[in-house]
Amino acid sequence: MRKLCDNDIIESIQKGNRDDFALLVDKYKDKAFNLLRRMLRNEMDAEEVLQDSFLKAFMSMNNFRHESKFSTWFYRIVYNTGLSFLQSKRKKTELKLDSLEDHNYLNYEDGKILAVEENSIKYLSLIIDKLPIRNALVIILYYIDDLKLSEISEILDISLVNAKVLLHRSRNILRDLIFKHNYQKELL
């Protein structure tokens, strides 16, 4: 049996088979939820925004022109809906933390995580949650969702050069923390 690709499903939805949207939901719900959970740092908020994101995607389905991949287009909706949610909740402190200059904040969080971490992978996962939103997202999109930098730049609405700089900075801060705790010695 031929496996349906995103474009087949979208074509079917655009023809009026709206129940086929459930196939897209099943395919992207975990990745989108993971992104929102990292972005909003709260499970219930992430679920609410996830539902809104899929609803927006469905309502805009007729406007999808296949100019980019569905995943990129959808992630963009997810990211923008998450940002709007943060703005509406006035979580400005989280939005302001858009630079890695705030070392004191990160060192404080690092100490707390180090006290509870079970292993180095868990430590990395927790410390990513403490990074500024865009730095955390670039790590998730690049390593977990396996997206290209060009796709990430489209989702985050930044230039390709800025996406690359953001990835390098995020990697460097994680590298410095790994180096600080000597976790690299676990490397095989």
Binding site: K29, D30, L55, M59, S60, L124, R171
Partner: protein
């Protein structure tokens, strides 16, 4: 420091030229700190792919599909309400227009003219500007015209507003 960071990242991304690669490898052999930093970066590369993924809650697909169905039915109801409003306005405008024309014909030509409505209308058009002035001088007529204008403007407002809303929604992504 920043140059070294840049070199490490470019090394990880396989972006160094052959010359840069040879020079960087020599540097690695002589600088233990740099080697450890590279290992730390490689550790990030390997471990980031294995970090915990938060899975969506159970039954989320059903919830989303139910929300979509609800949204669609609400939109359908809203459309019907808007159509009803437009229909009421149209009927009102037509009724007032009809009343206005018939009252004009009656007041200006009297009931003794037994020609068809179109004959009356053509006769009316032959009466020059003074007739229109006379017509506009009547406060009742002005009231009727004002009412029609107001209704037209309201209808126009509703139509433009609904179109703008639809456009904004479609362009928001």
């Amino acid at each position: 420091m920043k140059i070294l960071d840049e070199l490490l990242n470019r090394y990880i991304d396989n972006e160094l030229s052959t010359g840069e690669l040879v020079q960087f490898q020599k540097q690695l052999e002589s600088d233990e700190n740099l080697l450890q930093k590279l290992k730390a970066l490689q550790y990030v590369e390997q471990s980031a792919k294995r970090i915990e993924i938060y899975s969506a809650p159970n039954g989320i697909t059903e919830k989303i599909m139910a929300k979509i169905s609800l949204q669609l039915s609400e939109r359908y109801k809203k459309n019907h309400f808007f159509r009803f409003i437009v229909f009421v306005f149209t009927v009102l405008i037509l009724s007032i227009s009809g009343f206005m024309v018939s009252s004009l014909v009656n007041s200006n030509f009297g009931l003794n003219i037994k020609n068809s409505f179109f004959t009356k209308l053509s006769s009316f058009s032959e009466k020059e500007i003074h007739l229109i002035e006379k017509f506009l001088a009547n406060p009742n007529t002005l009231l009727i015209i004002s009412s029609i204008t107001l209704l037209l403007l309201l209808s126009l407002y509703f139509i433009i507003e609904s179109n703008l809303f639809a456009n904004q929604k479609s362009k928001s992504f």
